[in-house]
Subunit: 140 residues, 6 copies
Amino acid sequence: MVYLTRRERFNAAHKLWVAEWSEEENFRVFGRCANKNWHGHNFELFVTVKGEPDPVTGFIINVKELGAIVREVITERVDHTNLNLDVDFIPKDVQPTIENLVMIFWRELEPHLRKRGVQLHCIKLVETENIYAEYFGPGG
Amino acid sequence: MVYLTRRERFNAAHKLWVAEWSEEENFRVFGRCANKNWHGHNFELFVTVKGEPDPVTGFIINVKELGAIVREVITERVDHTNLNLDVDFIPKDVQPTIENLVMIFWRELEPHLRKRGVQLHCIKLVETENIYAEYFGPGG
Amino acid sequence: MVYLTRRERFNAAHKLWVAEWSEEENFRVFGRCANKNWHGHNFELFVTVKGEPDPVTGFIINVKELGAIVREVITERVDHTNLNLDVDFIPKDVQPTIENLVMIFWRELEPHLRKRGVQLHCIKLVETENIYAEYFGPGG
Amino acid sequence: MVYLTRRERFNAAHKLWVAEWSEEENFRVFGRCANKNWHGHNFELFVTVKGEPDPVTGFIINVKELGAIVREVITERVDHTNLNLDVDFIPKDVQPTIENLVMIFWRELEPHLRKRGVQLHCIKLVETENIYAEYFGPGG
Amino acid sequence: MVYLTRRERFNAAHKLWVAEWSEEENFRVFGRCANKNWHGHNFELFVTVKGEPDPVTGFIINVKELGAIVREVITERVDHTNLNLDVDFIPKDVQPTIENLVMIFWRELEPHLRKRGVQLHCIKLVETENIYAEYFGPGG
Amino acid sequence: MVYLTRRERFNAAHKLWVAEWSEEENFRVFGRCANKNWHGHNFELFVTVKGEPDPVTGFIINVKELGAIVREVITERVDHTNLNLDVDFIPKDVQPTIENLVMIFWRELEPHLRKRGVQLHCIKLVETENIYAEYFGPGG
C-alpha cells in the first residue's frame, strides 16, 4: 500500500453557537468563536488515499484528478461561504467544528472516490497553524 | 537604523460589497468575495519598527511590549470579528480589503508607537499564502 | 474516532552530555551538541488527542482548554529554561534528546488529560525543520 | 517505541512518459508532466525510523548519522539528476512518480538501516506543497 | 502608496551551462547545476505592484486579475517546461539563473501591468527554501 | 541591480542580562529571557547581496560560494554555541539581542564580501516565527 495526499484550500466564515443555549452560555463555552457576526479562517484540507500504484502509470490515482474531485465535491462548495448557513451538505443543527467537518467531508467524498476505484484513508483539516483534526473513517 | 518585526495573528470574517451597486455588479467585480453571508481568513499581521538599539538593553523596543501594543491596539479588536460590522475603527463605508486595512491599521497603531518613542516602518498584512499588502506610511 | 491536534511552542537550552564519559568521548558521540556552555532550540510541541466529538458542542475537547492544559503542564514549565538543569520533571540523569522528551512529556501530560476524560494519542516534538520525534504511548 | 524523523532534500528533473504509448496518449494521461524536455521539483524526503531510545545516549540513532545514511544512500545519488535517466537504482521502465519513488527509496534504504540495527518505519516524499506520498514497507 | 503582492508557482527543469566552455570548466563553475540531463525546481514567483487603492473597491488591482495576468504572461508559459529549451521569451544564450530570470520576467510582465494601469514594484523568485532573487526594475 | 538572498541556520543558547543590574531589575526588563541557566533558539540568517549578474554565468555571486562564506564567517562560529560566552566576535558587554546581532554580523561579514567584490545589502535574523530583525548597514 502507498498513501497519496492532496492538499486543497478554502476560506470560509463560521461561528459556534447552540441555539438552545443562552447568549451567556454560548460565550462561556465557545468564547470568541460565538461572535454573533461570525469570524473566519483559511482552511487547509488534506485528503489521503491509499492503493497499489498502477504498474504502467505509477499512479494510485492521477493526483490532478484527485484534486479535481476534492475541489468539485468539497472545496468549491465551501470556499467563500458561511459554513453555518450556505452549505447544503453541512447539517444546520451540527456545529461546524473541525472535528465535525472532517466526518462530514468524509461522508461526502468517500463515495466519489470509491466509485472511482480509490480507497479514502484520511481527511485532515487545518484551521490555524496551531489546530487541526483528522478522521480515518467509521472504522478508524 | 535597525528594523524589528513582530508578527501577530487574527481570524476574521468579511465581505467585499459596494452598497450602491446591484448584486450582479458586486459579483462581477468581487466574485465570491461578495458572498452575502460572508467568508473569512486567518490574517497574519507583521509590524516593523525602526530605531537605534538601546546601548544597555540592546532593544529598539522590548519585542514583548511591541507585541502587547499591537495586540491591544489592533489584533484583540479585530480577532474573531466581522471586519465589515464589528470594528469601531474600520469605517463602514470602506471596503475591508488588505490594501485598505494596512492603511487603517497604520493610522490606529502609529500614534501609540510614536508616544512610546518608537518609529513605525511598515504594516504588512497576509490574507492567504498567496496574497499580502504592505504600507510604509503616508510618505512611503 | 476523530483526532484533534494542538501545537504549542517553547524555547530552551540543552546539551547532550554523559557525565561518566570523558570530554573526548562526549564530543565523539554528540558532536557540537555536547558544547559545554549549551546551545538551544525553538521547540514545537504537537499534542494529539482522540475521541468522539460531543454531539452538542462538536468538541472532543475545547481546543483552547487543550492548549491551556498543555501550556500549564508542559510548555510554561520548559519555556525559556535549561532542559538539563531547570525542569523538575526531567530526570537529571536522562539525556534531553527529543526521543526521551516525548516519553517524559507523555508521562507528565497523560494523567491530566485522562482526568479530564480525554484520550492522549500522540506527542510530537520538532527540534529543527529537519528533525522530529513522536511517541504514541507505552503500548504504541 | 519512539519514532524519529529526518528530513533531507533534493532537486531533480523528471517526466512521466510511457514509451509504448503515442505522444497524444501520453499527454492525455500525464498532461504537462509529459513535457518532452522534462520539468523538475524540489523534493523533500522524510525518513522515519522507530525503536527504543538508548538508555545512555537517549538516541534511537544519532540523527546526524541517520541524515548521513539518507544522504549517502539516497539524496546524494538523486540530487541535481534526471530521475528518468541518471539514477542507477531507479528502473528505466518504471515511471518516476512519487508513489513509485517511495517504494524504490524504501528498497534501497531499508537494508542499510537494518544493518545499522535501526527499523525503518516510513518514507515520505513531498513533490510540491500540495502533493506527497508515503510508504510504510511491504507489510504496511 | 500601498504594495500588493501575489504569489504564483511553477515547476521547471533547467541547467547552467556555458556552451563555449569545456565540460570540466562548466562543472568547476556550476557544480551539479551543470548536470547534462538537467535538474529542476519548484519555483515560487512573488509579483509586487504599488498604487493607491481605488476609493470604491479598495483595490490597487483585483488580486485575482493580477494572478490571472501573472499566470497568462509568465507561469503558464514556464510551468512544466525546460527553461533552457522551451520558453520563447528566455534567450537561448542567457543562463537561466534566478538573477537573470527576475529581469527577464520583469521585461515580459511590466508592459502588461502598465497597460492595465498598474505599477510593477518587484519580481521575487524563490528557487529553494534557502535561495531567492529580487529585482526592482531598471532604475531599482 | 539584482538582489540575491541566501539563508543559513544556526542553533544557539543565550540570555539577556545586564551585569550592573540586580536580578530583580533584570527579570523586570527581560522577563524569562533573563533565565540564569540560559535558553535558546533556532536562528535563521538571511544574507542579501546586490549587484549586476555576470553576463556569462548569470551570477551576482555563485550562491553556493555565498553560502560557504556565510557559514565560514558566521554560522559555523555561532552554531551550537552560547552567544554570551563562546563567540569571540560578539563583545561580552553587548546584549545578544537580534537587534545587536544583525549589526555585529554585518561588521563581521561585510569585509569578506567586499573583498570578494560583492556588495552586502541586508542581514536579516529570525529568532522565532514571530520575531525578526534587519540591518541595511551603517548608512541604511
